[in-house]
C-alpha cells in the first residue's frame, strides 16, 4: 500500500513508506502506473495489536498518580485516574486477546502504529484530566493531554492553582512519557517480535545509539533514570532552599524534573518558574533543559568518556552554540532598545532564561507570557520565535526543526558558495561530525533536511494564518503557532481556556505532527487513504 510507481505487468505489494523512496526516473521505466494496494484485516490487526501494547503501558503508568491520589485522599481524582487506566488496560488486553499474531511489523505498519497510538493515548490520557472538572470540554482535556505527550506545555486548564497533586502529577507524567517516547515505554515493557526500528523512528528518533533497538531503548531509560535521580535531588534541594516545605518540595521537584528534562514546560503552579523567585531553581532547571535538548546519542558519547571531543566537533552542539549566542545577542539588543531591564542579572534571568527555554523547546517562564508583548518590544520576542522554530538536537526530547538539519542546511549553503569561488574543475567534499563519526554531506541528506525544514515552516505559517483569521495580530499568531508546532509551550496569552475551538483543534494537530516529525502521520493518512481507495 502507499503511493508509488510499479511496472504494469507485475504490480508489487508496496508499503506506505515507499512514498519516501526516491522516485524512479520516468525515462528509465516508460510504462509505469501508480499502484495503491488496500490493506487487509491482518495489516490493521497488526497496527491494532501494537497500539494495544502501547495502551497497556500507558494504563500501567496511569496507576502511579492514582496511587498518589489515594495516598493524598484525593479520591475523586484517583477514581478518575483508575477509570482511565482501566480503559487503557482493557483496550490493550482486548487487542492482545483478539489480535495476537506472530507476524512482524513492517516499517509502514510501525509508522502508522506510532501515529495512531499517539492519538488513542491522548484520548485515554484526557479522561482523568476531564474528570478532574478543570476543563470546560473534553476537547480542552484532549488539548492538554496532547500538549503533555508532545512536550509542548501549552495549557487550557481552568484554575490550575487549585488542581490536585495527583492530576498535576499526571499532567507532568504525560510529558515524561511523551518525551521519552510512548513507544519506547511499550518497547521497554513488552518488546515485540520485529519492526521495532520503525516504531523507534516513528517517534522522530533518527539516531541508532546501539546496534540493537531494545538495548537502545534500555540505554535511553538508563540515562533518564540517572538524570531523574540527579535532577530531582538537585531541584528538591533548590526548592527547599527557596522556601518550599520538604514534602511539597519533593513533589514539585519531581514534576519540574519531568517538565525540564523532557523539555515539556508544564509547571505545578500558574506562575510557572516565576513562582519560586529563585536563581538557584532557574539554574538547576536550565541544566536539565539543556540536558534534555541534547541527543541521547551525545549522552552516550559523553558516558563513554568522549565528551569534550564530541561536544567540540558535533555539528549539532556547534550549531546550538552559534544560534544560542547569536539569538541572545540580538535579544539583548532588543531588550536594551526598549529599556526593559537595567541589570545584567535581570538580562540573564529573564532574557537569557527565556531564550534557553525557547531554544530547548521547554517553555518554562519566569515572567507572565503577556509581558513578551507588553514589555519586551518587537525584536526580542521575534528572537524567541526563531529560537522556538529551530529547536534542540535531533534524537532529543526537544521539538522544532532541530540543530542537525539547521547545521546541514547551513553547511550546504556554505558549500555552494565555495563552489562558486573555487575553480570550475575543483571537487569539493563537505563533511560533518555527528554521533562520534565524520559523515559526508550527500545531496540526499541535504534534500531531506531541507524538505523537513520546509514542512516545519509551512506548519508554523499555517497556524499563524489561522490565528490571523481569528483576529490575532501577526506577532501573537506566529508566536503561538510556532510554540505549538515546535512543542515549546511559551505563550503570549492566546492559548488559554478562552482559546477558539478551531485554533484548539489545529494546535492539537500541530503538536501531534510536529512532535512525530511528519512521516509517521503521513503513513497513517496513507493507510486511511489506501483503505478506501486502494486496489484489492
Amino acid at each position: 500500500m502507499g503511493l508509488s510507481c510499479a511496472p504494469r505487468a507485475e504490480p508489487p505489494r508496496w508499503r506506505a513508506n515507499d512514498a519516501l523512496r526516491p522516485a524512479v526516473p520516468a525515462t528509465s521505466t516508460p510504462t509505469v502506473q501508480r499502484v495503491l494496494v488496500r490493506p487487509d484485516r491482518r495489516d490493521l490487526g497488526l497496527i491494532g495489536l501494537y497500539t494495544g501494547r502501547i495502551l497497556t503501558g500507558l494504563g500501567l503508568v496511569m496507576l502511579i498518580p492514582a496511587a498518589l491520589g489515594l495516598a493524598r485522599a484525593e479520591f475523586n481524582d484517583a477514581f478518575g485516574l483508575v477509570i482511565g487506566a482501566s480503559l487503557s488496560l482493557l483496550l490493550g488486553r482486548l487487542a492482545e486477546w483478539r489480535l495476537a499474531t506472530t507476524r512482524d511489523l513492517t516499517w509502514s505498519h510501525a509508522m502508522a502504529t506510532v501515529a495512531l497510538a499517539w492519538l488513542v493515548a491522548t484520548y485515554i490520557a484526557a479522561i482523568p484530566l476531564y474528570m478532574s472538572g478543570h476543563y470546560a470540554s473534553f476537547l480542552d482535556a484532549t488539548f492538554d493531554a496532547m500538549s503533555g505527550f508532545a512536550t509542548a506545555g501549552l495549557a487550557v486548564i481552568n484554575d490550575l492553582d487549585h488542581v490536585s497533586d495527583s492530576i498535576n502529577l499526571w499532567r507532568h507524567l504525560t510529558q515524561f512519557l511523551g518525551g521519552q517516547g510512548l513507544v519506547l515505554v511499550a518497547l521497554s515493557l513488552f518488546g515485540g517480535a520485529g519492526g521495532l526500528a520503525g516504531l523507534y523512528a516513528g517517534e522522530g528518533r533518527e539516531d541508532r545509539i546501539l546496534p540493537n533497538i531494545r538495548r537502545t531503548a534500555q540505554f535511553i531509560w538508563r540515562v533518564a533514570l540517572l538524570y531523574w535521580l540527579f535532577g530531582t535531588a538537585m531541584l528538591w534541594a533548590a526548592l527547599v532552599h527557596a522556601g518550599l516545605p520538604s514534602l511539597d518540595g519533593l513533589l514539585h521537584a519531581t514534576m519540574l524534573f519531568m517538565a525540564a528534562f523532557d523539555t515539556g514546560g508544564f509547571a505545578p503552579t500558574s506562575a510557572s518558574l516565576g513562582f519560586y523567585h529563585s536563581a538557584v531553581v532557574e539554574a538547576a532547571t536550565s541544566i536539565l533543559m539543556v540536558a534534555g535538548a541534547l541527543s541521547f546519542a551525545l549522552h552516550y558519547q559523553l558516558m563513554r568518556g568522549r565528551g569534550w571531543r564530541e561536544l567540540l566537533h558535533n555539528i549539532e552542539t556547534r550549531t546550538l552554540a552559534v544560534t544560542t549566542v547569536g539569538l541572545f545577542a540580538v535579544t539583548a539588543v532588543g531588550l536594551a532598545r526598549f529599556g526593559t531591564y537595567d541589570s545584567v542579572e535581570a538580562l540573564i534571568r529573564r532574557g537569557f532564561f527565556h531564550l534557553l527555554s525557547a531554544h530547548t523547546g521547554t517553555g518554562f517562564g519566569t515572567i507572565p507570557g503577556r509581558m513578551f508583548v507588553t514589555d519586551w518590544g518587537a525584536l526580542a520576542p521575534a528572537m524567541i520565535v526563531i529560537a522556538m522554530a529551530l529547536g534542540g538536537m535531533a534524537g532529543s526530547t526537544a521539538g522544532g526543526v532541530k540543530a542537525l538539519r539547521v547545521g546541514i542546511v547551513a553547511k550546504a549553503v556554505t558549500a555552494d558558495i565555495h563552489r562558486i569561488v573555487l575553480p570550475q574543475d575543483a571537487v569539493l567534499l563537505q563533511t560533518y561530525h555527528s554521533n562520534g563519526r565524520r559523515e559526508i554531506l550527500r545531496g540526499a541528506i541535504v534534500r531531506t533536511a531541507v524538505l523537513i525544514t520546509l514542512l516545519y515552516f509551512l506548519l508554523y505559517f499555517g497556524g499563524a494564518l489561522l490565528g490571523l483569521f481569528y483576529g490575532y495580530p501577526l506577532q501573537e499568531a506566529l508566536f503561538e503557532s510556532t510554540s505549538a508546532a515546535a512543542a515549546v509551550g511559551l505563550s503570549v496569552g492566546v492559548v488559554g481556556p478562552n482559546l477558539e475551538t478551531g485554533l484548539k483543534v489545529f494546535y492539537i494537530f500541530q503538536m501531534w505532527i510536529g512532535r512525530l516529525e511528519f512521516i509517521s502521520v503521513f503513513a497513517l493518512f496513507g493507510y486511511l487513504y489506501a483503505t478506501v481507495r486502494g486496489r484489492l
Binding site: 470546560a136 537595567d342 515572567i367 478562552n498
Partner: protein
C-alpha cells in the same frame, strides 16, 4: 476481481471509522454524565471572551498620590503605566509562602476563583485561567497566613499596599509588588470534596473488567 480472505471493502473501512468515532464520542459523553451527576451542576460553559484591549493609561508615578487600586491583569497589560507606582492590590495566597529572611514571597491570585466564586470544583463555572502577581510581604504577615490555596484549601485573602516594579531588582527582573502594608482580610478554609460514589463504583467495575481481560488474554496468548 476476486476478494481475498480478510480483505476490507471501502464500505467496511468507512463504517469502521464511523463506529470508532461514535464509540469515542459515547465514552466522552458517559464521562460527562458521570461528572455532571457528581457535581449536580450544569457542565462547564465556554468562558466568556475577553474584552478588546484598551490603551494603557498615562504612567502613574507621583509619590504623594494615594495608592491606585489595581488588578493583576492591568499590571501585566500596562507594566510601564504602573512601574514604580504605589498600588493597592488584593488576592488569594496560593500554593506556598516562601520565606526569605525578614520578608517572604506570597503569590496572590485575584481571579474569580480567588476573590469571587471560589475554587472551581465548588461552583463549576469556568472563567478562564488564574491571574496573579507575586508580592513580597514582611515575614510577620507571612507568619499569619494560615491557609494557601490548593486542591484542599481556599487560601487567605490578603490586601496589600506597596510599590509595583515591572522589573524588580530584588527578584532579578520579575514583576512584583513590594508591600509596605499588608493584612489578611478574609481567612482561608479547608475545602471539602465529598467522595463521588458513582465514580468509585465505575472505577471498581472497570478495573475488575480490565483485570479479567488481562487474565483471559494471558491464557489465550499462552
Amino acid at each position: 476481481m476476486t476478494r481475498r480472505t480478510g480483505q476490507i471493502t471501502p464500505f467496511q473501512a468507512v463504517a469502521g471509522l464511523v463506529v470508532v468515532v461514535a464509540l469515542a464520542a459515547a465514552t466522552a459523553g458517559a464521562l460527562d454524565l458521570l461528572l455532571r451527576r457528581a457535581e449536580q451542576q450544569a457542565p462547564l460553559g465556554a468562558p466568556a471572551q475577553e474584552e478588546a484591549d484598551e490603551a494603557c493609561p498615562e504612567p502613574v508615578r507621583s509619590p504623594g498620590d494615594a495608592p491606585v487600586v489595581v488588578a493583576a491583569d492591568e499590571l501585566i497589560e500596562c507594566p510601564n503605566t504602573y512601574d514604580g507606582a504605589l498600588v493597592s492590590y488584593k488576592g488569594e495566597a496560593v500554593r506556598a509562602v516562601l520565606r526569605r529572611g525578614a520578608r517572604a514571597w506570597v503569590h496572590l491570585n485575584d481571579d474569580p476563583y480567588a476573590l469571587g466564586l471560589g475554587p472551581l470544583h465548588e461552583h463549576r463555572t469556568a472563567v478562564g485561567g488564574n491571574s496573579g502577581i507575586p508580592v513580597s510581604v514582611p515575614v510577620q504577615i507571612a507568619d499569619g497566613v494560615t491557609f494557601v490555596g490548593d486542591a484542599r484549601h481556599r487560601g487567605d485573602i490578603l490586601a496589600v499596599t506597596g510599590i509595583f516594579r515591572r522589573a524588580d531588582p530584588a527578584d532579578g527582573g520579575g514583576p512584583t509588588i513590594q508591600a509596605q502594608t499588608a493584612r489578611i482580610t478574609q481567612p482561608g478554609r479547608p475545602v471539602g470534596r465529598p467522595t463521588d460514589r458513582a465514580r468509585a463504583l465505575t472505577a471498581a467495575a472497570l478495573s475488575m473488567t480490565a483485570l479479567t481481560a488481562a487474565l483471559v488474554a494471558r491464557r489465550r496468548v499462552r
